[in-house]
């Protein structure tokens, strides 16, 4: 399972980065590979390339504001969730997204 995810929040100081860390830890514990792009006050970091999007099995947006350059993901099904939900329980979010993907 290859996951790519984008995190973003209104001020881009705290939740963006907490959500990213939470997703990375949860994916690791579930044995999935993940790349998380943060769109915060520092700008875009760990940017996901078009190639990585194409190769991804699952796309997660943990964002409370519009994701920048969303057109990269236009051919993908995107699992959208609030950043705070990821901070609360990233594992449950990933598991739910994977379930939806498998039942599609």
């Amino acid at each position: 399972m290859k996951i790519v995810a984008v995190t973003a929040c209104p001020t881009g100081i705290a939740h963006t980065y907490m959500a990213a860390e939470a997703l990375e830890r949860a994916a690791k514990s579930l044995g999935y590979s993940i790349k998380v792009e943060t769109q915060g006050s520092i700008g875009i970091e760990n940017k996901i390339s078009q190639k990585e999007v194409n190769e991804a099995d699952l796309v997660i947006f943990a964002a409370d504001v519009a994701v920048k350059e969303e057109s990269r993901f236009k051919d993908k099904t995107i699992y959208r969730v609030e950043a705070q939900k990821v901070i609360k329980n990233a594992k449950a979010v990933i598991e739910e997204a994977v379930n939806l993907l498998n039942n599609k």
Binding site: I13, A14, Y17, Q84, I87
Partner: protein, 146 residues
């Protein structure tokens, strides 16, 4: 520096969220990090209204991005008593990280440090160490270890 011993409080007595934010903002003002306590607090409270900054595990990270902040900063406080913060996990808060960032911050390093601290708040061991710390030096040591 983002982390400064004058911006650390080990036994804050306030028992209401708004009071905690105001008291810590005044500390930042006294250290010249914030130019107006009222403007800064207003921004932080507006941010709180969007949704809670009680991120669980007894931690709150109130924050504001406004020109009332001179340079990116963090005030850290351990509260004497746990207080209500409408946290994601419903638990009361005893560790508060008040963050401030100017509208336009030229200093990426400061933002990098704040983002790294935010990431570490997911780490239970890190949070546990902070909660057990007894002195400002200890707190600074833990925060600088990131």
């Amino acid at each position: 520096m983002v982390i400064d011993e004058n911006l650390i409080v080990l036994n804050l007595k306030s028992n209401r969220k708004e009071e905690v934010i105001r008291e810590l903002a005044e500390l930042a003002f006294n250290q010249g990090k914030v130019t107006s306590v009222n403007d800064y607090v207003k921004t932080v409270l507006e941010r709180e209204k969007l949704f809670t900054t009680g991120v669980g595990n007894g931690i709150a990270i109130p924050h504001g991005k406004t020109d009332a902040v001179k340079e990116s900063m963090m005030v850290f406080a351990k509260l004497e008593q746990q207080i209500e913060w409408e946290s994601l996990d419903g638990k009361p808060v005893d560790l508060v990280f008040l963050l401030g960032v100017p509208e336009k911050d030229a200093n990426d390093l400061h933002l990098q440090i704040l983002s790294r601290i935010s990431r570490k708040l997911i780490d239970d061991t890190f949070v546990d160490k902070l909660r057990k710390s007894q002195t400002k030096d200890e707190v600074i040591g833990i925060l600088n270890s990131i």
